[in-house]
Symmetry: C2
Subunit: 105 residues, 2 copies
């Protein structure tokens, strides 16, 4: 079973919810780590300085804004950046809000 | 005297302050109206559904984030979108957060 939790289609993104999700630096850090990983991660592998319940809240805000997908593999909750969908809806936005992680000159 | 109030140089924008400014729909409306005007406006000509003191606060947040310039002409406080500077620092961001006002097909 993949991507069981619904997320907006590209045309359905709500700019207000997206900006509310992005304004929190912890949530931008989650996005940056998912981007750097290049693959979907177990939530526990994302390093953020907050309690587990707060982390769960942050992931939920990101998911409901459509910025990430979440789904279960067995008992592990996986998360992944919806880069293609976000890029289609808001061209350039991810490159602005996620620091480039490997732009060695 | 023009642009007496300091605003960030393009390389000095603080993404956190920019996102905090943009997350408020009233402030995005101000930006949209300044963009649509195509010229600097007296603050009183920007139509937003808030008190004068609240409006002043919104303009201040936008100015301190570097998104607008403000200056006086006589006793009139003028405001203008810093489109070129914002576009240089965050390519594509304004097109995402400001609804296109005249994209008739």
């Amino acid at each position: 079973m993949s991507d069981a939790r619904t997320a907006p289609e590209p045309g359905d993104f709500d700019l207000q919810k997206v900006l509310e999700a992005l304004v929190d630096p912890v949530r931008r850090s989650i996005l940056a780590q998912l981007d750097a990983a290049g693959e979907d991660l177990r939530c526990g592998l994302v390093d953020i300085p907050v309690s587990k319940s707060t982390a769960t809240h942050h992931f939920k805000v990101l998911r409901e804004a459509g910025l990430i997908r979440q789904y279960y593999v067995g008992t592990a909750r996986m998360s992944g950046l919806r880069r293609a969908e976000v890029e289609e809806a808001f061209p350039g936005l991810l490159d602005i809000v996620i620091p480039r992680h490997a732009t060695v000159p």
